[in-house]
């Protein structure tokens, strides 16, 4: 277990959600002296093949601390596979994947990576349908994840406060006792984002958050994500160009498993290669 995560366990809630500059000042993560890189996420020459098909081909990507990045690319460009590699679901055949400069993501499983501080939102909203909205958040709140510890569990004041705060944040306070399965699609998307925030991750991977949302919900989601990115790094995979424009961040274009172009959206969209494979279609 890395120093960073054990630190975080000792002081739960150190990374507050409230947009409060004082809190940010306190909680600037100190760079580990042993870190090999200053980047929060460092992917180098990652290759993944399925039965000869190269889903990722020598992919390299660097995400800085508290950076927001949008990733675009046509279907089959390797976006989901890249997320699988970062979260430990898929093991790369070759390549380096470092988190916070010291944690080798290629050797850890999903649970360990999640506990390190990487949260992932799926393309289709995945929440615990049979649990209440409140329980969904509570299960995600950063706490001891071990089985035996959770048999003897009692809710702490801190946990109650966190749940209230997060429900407020994702605008589900009024739905607190509804079953999550009964929520609308957009509400489920937000609930899942709320669960992610409850984990207090340092890096959020968000897969098509705007899919299936109304225009208003899409715009709200962009605001929410930008706000989140003030305190942590966020990687957004998205097809919706308007949404990417709203985010107004650096864009990485994936194509056939590698990075085709990187830069501001306007610059990227002017790149003839990008136009050819993606935008020009």
């Amino acid at each position: 277990m890395s120093e960073i995560s054990s630190d975080a366990v000792k002081s739960p809630g150190a990374i507050s959600l409230e947009v409060d500059d004082a809190v940010f000042a306190v909680d600037h993560p100190v760079r580990d002296p042993q870190a090999l890189t200053s980047a929060l996420l460092y992917l180098d020459a990652i290759t993944v093949s399925f039965d000869g098909f190269r889903a990722l081909n020598a992919l390299s990507l660097v995400i800085g601390d508290r950076e927001m990045r949008a990733i675009i690319g046509p279907n089959g460009a390797g976006k989901t596979t890249m997320m699988d590699v970062i979260t430990g679901k898929t093991r790369p055949n070759t390549g380096t994947a470092l988190f916070a400069g010291i944690n080798d993501l290629t050797t850890l499983d999903e649970a360990a990576i999640a506990q390190l501080g990487i949260g992932r939102k799926f393309q289709t909203p995945t929440v615990f349908d049979m649990h209440t909205v409140e329980d969904n958040i509570l299960l995600a709140v950063k706490a001891d994840r071990r089985a035996f510890a959770n048999i003897r569990w009692h809710r702490t004041a801190h946990e109650s406060a966190r749940v209230d705060e997060l429900l407020e944040r994702v605008r589900l306070k009024d739905h607190r006792f509804r079953r999550a399965g009964d929520l609308s699609h957009g509400q489920k998307q937000w609930l899942e984002i709320g669960m992610l925030l409850a984990q207090e991750p340092r890096l959020l991977l968000v897969d098509e958050p705007a899919a299936g949302m109304t225009d208003q919900e899409t715009a709200d989601t962009a605001v929410l994500l930008k706000e989140i990115a003030k305190t942590r790094s966020v990687v957004v995979v998205e097809h919706d160009m308007q949404f990417v424009r709203d985010l107004d961040v650096k864009v990485t274009v994936l194509h056939e498993g590698s990075v085709l172009a990187e830069g501001p959206l306007d610059q990227v969209s002017a790149d003839p290669r990008v136009i050819e494979v993606y935008l020009g279609r």
């Binding site: 399925f50 039965d51 098909f53 889903a55 989901t80």
Partner: protein, 565 residues
């Protein structure tokens, strides 16, 4: 749209039925029967009429000994008869055995009374118009009876029927009675059928091998002949070579023993592989329908074994009807049962899909439970109608018998079932890949909503697919009725094995099912000599449990995105 769907069904099922019919046709099968050349012995041998006209004096002298009424003379005469070339010898020995050999105390003439009561001259076989009045039977005691048996054995080496000659040669090979040697030589000299000739030569070698009187060269060639025979019996014989045999013979026997043992080991493995292939074909038949319902549709059909059972019972009913109304069609019974079983179990499958399974798509565990319930009901229904005992299902003539390949024996029913299972496999592959039904099936299983949007009636395709899987289970039942007990529990024995095969091979992959079935079949039979049947099976189950841990999606797993959805 309706016509199109029917055409899809017809084009889908047509090739399957055609292949099934072709396979089951008895005419095609019979052409492969054992080649049995007409028997043409070099010298015509007769055991009854027409009689030979002349009798040589030597034979008359032998016959004379029967009239002395002394056991010792009778036995001696029998020994001489055994080597006599006379065509009447066999008739005389037969008559003596049945107490029909008579002699006239006054004239010392010997006669045979035919079973019908007529009296014939023993030497010529000619009818005697006015036999002497007081004829006495030649008596026999135990010693004489033994001599009769030996003489009969020797004489049947000269029988008119090639099969009997071969049997006699095999008997001599076992008894190794040196006294038969002269007859054997005589028989060898005139034998025309190569197989019988070989058997006679082997019998001769068996005698010569341990006969100290035989020249060394003869004994060496006997060893060589036995080594060529190469089976367990030859091995046993070579081991009996006595210590006082010439050194050359002993060392040749030693070398022979080693080489036979090596060969036998090879053949034992080959035989087990054959048994394994046979078991694999049974597994393939049982699992292939499941590969459709489970592998393609994702439906866990626990009643699959019962579909197999229904197919077997269809065979029973078809044979029953044929026996009572058209016995001459019996060799065609399987050909008739195949389409009948396919249609009947296919229909049961369609009904099952429409009434139960379609409400449970996407809930595999519930499907498992519901179909288990259906399986219980089907079992009990069959038990109520036909009773709990095994039903007799006969084998057409072309399914019975066996032939030898080297040192292993291959039965026709197993051979045909292997061929049949492969044909069913190919037919199914063609249905899925080449017909419109197959196209619709693949479309629906890959993307139900899109298929529906394209105008495919997904409900009907589901029913037909399930019917196809069930129908194939039914024709598997026809085949399995030939090698397994047809009872209400028939299906229970196959369901776990079938699931193992499909899961091991990889769900959704017919080739995986093929490879899985034969791999598990052969592995099971190769394990048996070491572990025993039960432990071998347990070992295999444990292996599969561990295998699924390593490759949860089986041998030929689909990889990548498709798996996740």
């Amino acid at each position: 749209m309706r016509g199109g769907r029917l055409a899809a069904l017809a084009s889908g099922l047509g090739p399957l039925l055609l292949l099934a019919l072709l396979l089951a046709a008895p005419g095609a099968a019979r052409a492969q029967g054992t080649p049995e050349a007409p028997v043409t012995p070099a010298v015509p041998v007769t055991s009854g009429a027409p009689p030979a006209v002349t009798a040589d004096t030597g034979f008359a002298a032998i016959l004379g000994k029967f009239s002395t009424d002394r056991y010792a003379d009778t036995a001696a005469a029998l020994a001489e008869l055994a080597t006599s070339p006379s065509p009447q010898a066999a008739a005389v020995v037969d008559a003596l055995a049945d107490g029909r050999l008579l002699y006239d105390g006054a004239s010392k003439a010997v006669f045979i009374r035919t079973p019908a009561g007529a009296i014939r001259d023993a030497a010529t076989g000619a009818p005697v118009a006015s036999p002497p009045v007081d004829l006495s039977p030649v008596r026999a005691n135990n010693r004489v009876r033994r001599a009769i048996e030996a003489a009969m054995g020797a004489l049947s080496l000269l029988d008119a029927d090639a099969d009997r000659r071969r049997e006699a040669a095999a008997a001599v090979f076992k008894s190794r009675d040196p006294a038969v040697l002269p007859t054997l030589d005589a028989a060898l000299a005139r034998e025309g059928v190569p197989q019988v000739k070989a058997a006679l030569a082997e019998a001769r070698a068996a005698i010569l091998l341990n006969s100290p009187a035989a020249p060394e060269a003869e004994r060496l060639s006997a060893v060589k002949l036995l080594v060529d025979r190469g089976d367990q019996e030859a091995l046993g014989l070579l081991r009996t070579v006595p210590a006082d045999a010439p050194a050359a013979v002993k060392s040749a026997a030693q070398v022979g023993i080693v080489s036979i043992e090596r060969d036998l080991k090879f053949w034992a493995v080959a035989q087990n592989v054959w048994y394994g292939l046979s078991l694999g074909s049974v597994l393939l038949l049982a699992a292939i329908g499941l590969a459709i319902t489970f592998g393609v549709m994702g439906v866990i059909n626990m009643a699959h074994g019962e579909m197999v059972m229904l197919g077997a019972y269809t065979t029973f009913v078809v044979q029953d009807v044929i026996r009572s109304s058209a016995p001459h069609l019996f060799d065609w019974s399987l050909a008739i049962a195949l389409p009948a079983a396919f249609l009947f179990t296919g229909l049961v499958g369609v009904v099952l899909e429409r009434t139960v399974i379609r409400f449970l798509y996407g809930r595999p565990l519930e499907t498992l439970l519901a179909t288990w319930g259906v399986s219980l009901m089907l079992q009990q229904a069959v038990r109520s109608i036909f009773g709990p005992t095994n039903q007799e299902v006969g084998a057409p003539s072309w399914m019975s018998g066996a032939f030898q390949v080297g040192q292993m024996s291959i039965t026709y029913n197993r051979l045909w079932i292997i061929v049949f299972s492969l044909l069913v496999f190919v037919a199914l592959l063609l249905v899925l890949k080449r017909t419109s039904l197959g196209l619709y099936v693949r479309a629906v299983t890959q993307n139900r909503r899109m298929a529906a949007a394209m105008g495919i009636r997904t409900g009907r395709i589901d029913a037909l697919t399930f019917g196809l899987g069930s129908g194939i289970a039914g024709i598997a039942g026809v085949a399995l009725s030939q090698i397994d007990n047809v009872s209400p529990n028939l299906g229970q024995g196959y369901i776990i094995d079938s699931f193992m095969v499909v899961v091991f091979g990889g769900v959704g992959n017919l080739w995986g099912t093929l490879v899985g079935a034969f791999t598990l079949g052969v592995a099971n039979k190769l394990l048996e000599p070491f572990a025993g049947a039960v432990l071998g099976k347990i070992a295999l189950l444990v292996f599969i449990i561990l295998f699924i841990q390593k490759r949860p999606r089986g041998l030929f797993a689909l990889k990548g995105r498709a798996v996740e959805s």
